[in-house]
Symmetry: C2
Subunit: 355 residues, 2 copies
């Protein structure tokens, strides 16, 4: 059977003031279609039964994680006592899935990305599931780049895998976020895809790789899961997490993998990493404005204005982000929304109640 | 004796969201020194006894008008049942002052302007009081223009009045707000002053002029004041206001006056007509930023940011106004703060609760 693991442990401050210390991006309704985590789960609904969708998230976010609202069985909500990056999160889900379905094919997906072309996305994922089951290889979803982005990691394609018409390639290498010049070179070469952060594997191969490259992670979950379903499990899990290192799937597993496949796709993917990328994803309205809530934007172009209460009036502005959330307001140029992180640090020290 | 009449009946929307339908500009603390009306009264404190300061304001604003907070005797607060522009407001005060002091010299001042050079201002007013008592003429305070403003009325000087060293002139004419070209011509000529809206007169001459040019106003107050101090006065006043036309001192009286004097002054006057002029009046801080309340302005220049609750963070913006007041937020370029009026009309129709 196929399973989906939604990795929802992230925290982030680039959506301040909407995101706060206690409300990470995946729990925000940024696009107007509900919290991003719910939108993510809904995206996979036609592909696997609801009982095969798993969410790995932080215990600290429990308030935002009602299984009913997420549409998954309560047992499929896997709460990590502490965040340890993606490799332990996926290992946690792998251990849980393995008890029911040791031969499963697993799609591991970030909880906080957006997809414009749902139909195309589902078709690519279906194809990727089949290919993963057949090949036993790790497989990553590559995104055909539309511009020389410096905010994403890249994947360099090697030789085609199987018939060239299938459009599947071997991964030659993973490249970290490049500088602007390198990004332009990547784009020109035609051989690079953006790394979507979504990947697939077959459970036996995953466990074998975990054993080989992160044996302490494998051992910790094996130990804890001996008590799975028993009263001692939460305590065992907490104990396990104390010894588990913080490591990403990319660094901890994929880097050591001799053969990984990549399926390049053009499915309107956007990591919604900043207010600017949200605007890019949504900004097709009149004059390029994106407006949420009780907002007046007079003679504005390419503005993103959000208000969750009261009224926000913006007059004669171009290319700005104006967000009112709770008791806080942010105003900055779209092009500088990456720097919101820095503002949050200032707020933490000056107005900690608003961070 | 000399008296001061503070004309506080104005209403305005150009300071939205700080000013609302029920809180006009003169009741706002825009400069950080208290409500403008209180600052105005304080400005005259060394010049006349507190018992000689009168405030004429709208009954609708009674909530903002505590005689204790204003520092005047309760009887010196003159509440108009309805607004009728400045001529009736001053006539009201003139009738009240006349009962105590029929030979008074009266300074009539707007309640919502700012003065940078207090010492210079008081010295000019002292001189103007003396001159008014001696000459019996209407006298206006002219402001030496610093730039070709199109938002102010102008006063053209004629011949010097008295010794040229006194720096007092006859008024040749009052000019309405000019267009940009005319304003530049005014400035070049060296003969034009901004009309500060502040003027002086002697009571007997004022009443005579009122009788001549606005006899219905004179008659209405004469009638009502027959009941002054008696229980029937409020009703008589309300009745009087129903028949009183709406007319300004400039149009109703000064235009008909053959000899008016003007005393040009450079006293850091600013009518604080818009967020932009408030910024100009206050904007001498680091990088030209003016910040009030819990505000973070990172890498900003020439911004005006105010917050009356919560935190407002502005990053990388130049020349903008950001105001949070109550449940409303305004963002606009400094140069367009005149247009806030128009925004308020939109808000009135779309979100009346925030207008």
């Amino acid at each position: 059977m196929d399973h989906v693991v939604v990795m929802a442990g992230g925290s982030g401050t680039r959506f301040w003031p909407e995101s706060r210390a206690r409300r990470a991006k995946q729990f925000l309704d940024l696009t107007g279609n509900g919290p991003m985590i719910v939108e993510t789960i809904r995206r996979f609904a036609p592909l696997v039964p609801a009982g095969n969708v798993w969410v790995v998230a932080g215990e600290k976010d429990r308030a935002h994680l009602s299984p009913e609202a997420l549409g998954i069985p309560p047992g499929n909500l896997l709460l990590e006592p502490e965040g340890r990056n993606t490799a332990p999160a996926v290992a946690f889900a792998a251990a849980a899935i393995g008890r029911r379905d040791p031969e499963a094919v697993v799609v591991a997906s970030p909880a906080d990305h957006a997809i414009g072309d749902l139909k195309g996305f589902r078709s690519v994922i279906r194809k990727s599931m089949r290919l993963t089951r057949k090949s036993g290889c790790f497989l990553t979803l590559g995104i055909r780049p539309t511009h020389p982005a410096t905010g994403y990691g890249y994947i360099e394609r090697g030789e085609p895998y199987g018939p060239p018409a299938d459009g599947v390639f071997r991964v030659r290498r993973f490249a970290e976020k490049p500088d602007a010049k390198t990004a332009r070179r990547f784009l020109r070469s035609g051989r690079f895809e953006w790394n979507s952060g979504l990947f697939l594997f077959r459970l036996p191969e995953f466990q074998r790789r975990l054993e080989a490259h992160l044996p302490e992670v494998r051992a910790a979950f094996d130990g804890a899961f001996r008590l799975a379903g028993k009263p001692g499990f939460p305590a065992a899990l907490r104990k396990a997490y104390r010894s588990i290192p913080s490591v990403s799937v990319d660094h901890g597993l994929l880097e050591h993998e001799p053969e990984i496949l990549v399926v390049p796709a053009s499915v309107g993917w956007n990591d919604i990493g900043t207010w600017r990328s949200l605007h890019e994803f949504l900004g097709h309205g009149e004059a390029g404005n994106v407006l949420f809530g009780d907002v007046i934007a007079d003679d504005c172009r390419n503005v993103l204005v959000r208000s969750d209460r009261g009224v926000v009036a913006v007059l004669g502005m171009d290319d700005v982000v104006v967000v009112r959330s709770g008791d806080a307001v942010l105003v900055c140029p779209r092009s500088r929304s990456e720097e919101v992180k820095g503002i949050v640090d200032r707020i933490k020290s000056k107005y900690p109640e608003h961070a």
